[in-house]
Point group: C2
């Protein structure tokens, strides 16, 4: 503080994982977004990227453009960001606040990971199980049905799966976080690993609110193509099933096997209860266009 | 590339210096700013912050908001940024491009510096000489007299003093880059070090264009209170004069002694040719208000 730069001392012998993200008002959040939740989410999406690499978050920089000095907004935003940062011992090491007509938030997060143990998208192998943490579809449901509190919370206060990412370093072959939707994000693993996958729709853990809605098409769109859940999708060898099941109990976080990786073209088949391929809209981009 | 984060391997045993900066169209640059120069300057201001700490630049992340995909603009911007990055072996390790109504550029730069050798603002001691690199006032002159090519170049294509910063690690006690004007930036050193300073106006190296203009008031405002020169101001013990003079020759960069640090209140006196204090407007913020 007070110098041109912050000085950090990384742990000797670790690699650094770095991710950066920009959120713009009107595109990534609404002008009336609750600032405390926004501060949480702006950091959460970056911590989620680190988790998907198996990295332990350490430091973060924040650049903000604001139309005017709005002290209550800034205090609430900072409180949300710092509360999440404190939970994971993440230090804010640099900041720049400037004036700009459109509220804009840019965060760079830096984490540490032992050399060779980072989880990459290219590591999936035929025979791997496909796993997902938590439940899917809630954040997308929160967009269209904001009155459902459980879904709105998933949208506005996502939990980055930091501990899970760290523990998967020696258990998973490949991982990604669900930011654009299960179908689209899993497709990134398949393309980078040059493998195919089949997933059973019935086995995908879904936000509990869907059970009461009785709208299977909405459910399917949210679960397969909805973004912003920030759960981890990962592949792991069958031999690690017992360890992953005990890890789920230890973390108090559901880890569910939803399918498997196979050789062949990098395509995802989502199968219905009869084992037939289910039509779906792909990742978030496609959903947004309909 | 292709994963959630970039992986870096820092050199063992070095500290990291991190700085972040956000530039907003209409505030930090004009809508018709030449994009190649803008790409250069956006990176240069961050490399200058690293240089002021004595850090060697290594990695940079870039987040961009753009109103529309404008391929020629983006290509020229990137060309300017990458050309400067290549000169200093800086790798772009993360990026996020998103849509936003106002062009916004956020850069985080990471450098390395041996532990204990970072140049901080708090290190100035009574008896130190005050030095400045290059010439001052050119960038501010370029703002008001854009037709003077030499001055416009100083404004739009500043040179971060990377090698100088590295070489000052063992020679200087304190350093800062001139981003807000000599008077304001040197005042930061004085406040943090709790020392005073006197500077002789006649000894300050000035952009050569002032000699032809014959406007001493404009010159004084630009030289003392103009920002954006990105030269380094630093303090060093008298015993290092010979080394600093030979460093200037080696780097082909003027290093000029302009005054000295003394004990007492953290105030800056700028003295005229008769040794009398010269009234001045302080740093850039004050200048902007007049």
């Amino acid at each position: 503080v007070g110098d041109d730069c912050a000085l950090l001392r990384p742990d000797a012998g670790l690699d650094l994982a770095v991710t950066t993200d920009m959120l713009v008002e009107g595109r990534h959040f609404l002008p009336d977004a609750e600032p405390r939740a926004l501060g949480h989410k702006a950091l959460a999406v970056n911590l989620s990227d680190l988790a998907a690499m198996g990295a332990t978050p350490r430091w973060v920089t924040l650049a903000l453009a604001l139309p005017a000095i709005d002290a209550p907004w800034l205090e609430a935003f900072s409180a949300g960001l710092f509360a999440l940062a404190a939970r994971y011992n993440v230090d804010l090491v640099g900041g720049d606040t400037t004036r700009g007509a459109v509220r804009t938030i840019s965060i760079t997060a830096i984490g540490e990971v032992p050399p060779g143990l980072a989880l990459e998208r290219a590591g999936a192998r035929p025979g791997d199980d496909v796993w997902v943490s938590g439940e899917l579809g809630g954040a997308a449901l929160g967009l269209v049905r904001p009155e459902i509190a459980e879904a709105a919370k998933r949208l506005h206060l996502p939990e980055p799966r930091v501990e899970l990412g760290e523990r998967l370093r020696r258990l998973a072959h490949a991982a990604i976080d669900v930011s654009d939707g299960l179908a689209g994000d899993l497709a990134h693993i398949l393309e980078r690993s040059n493998v195919g996958a089949s997933v059973e729709y019935a086995r995908i853990p879904k936000c509990a609110a869907f059970a009461k809605l009785g709208d299977p098409e909405l459910e399917k769109n949210c679960v397969l193509s909805g973004g912003d859940d920030y759960e981890l999708v990962f592949t792991a060898p069958r031999a690690h099933r017992p360890e992953l099941e005990s890890l789920a109990r230890e973390l108090g976080l559901a880890l569910t096997r939803i399918g498997e990786i196979h050789g062949g073209t990098p395509q995802l088949a989502v199968l219905d209860a009869q084992g037939k391929p289910l039509a779906h809209r792909g990742g978030f981009d496609h959903f947004a266009r309909t």
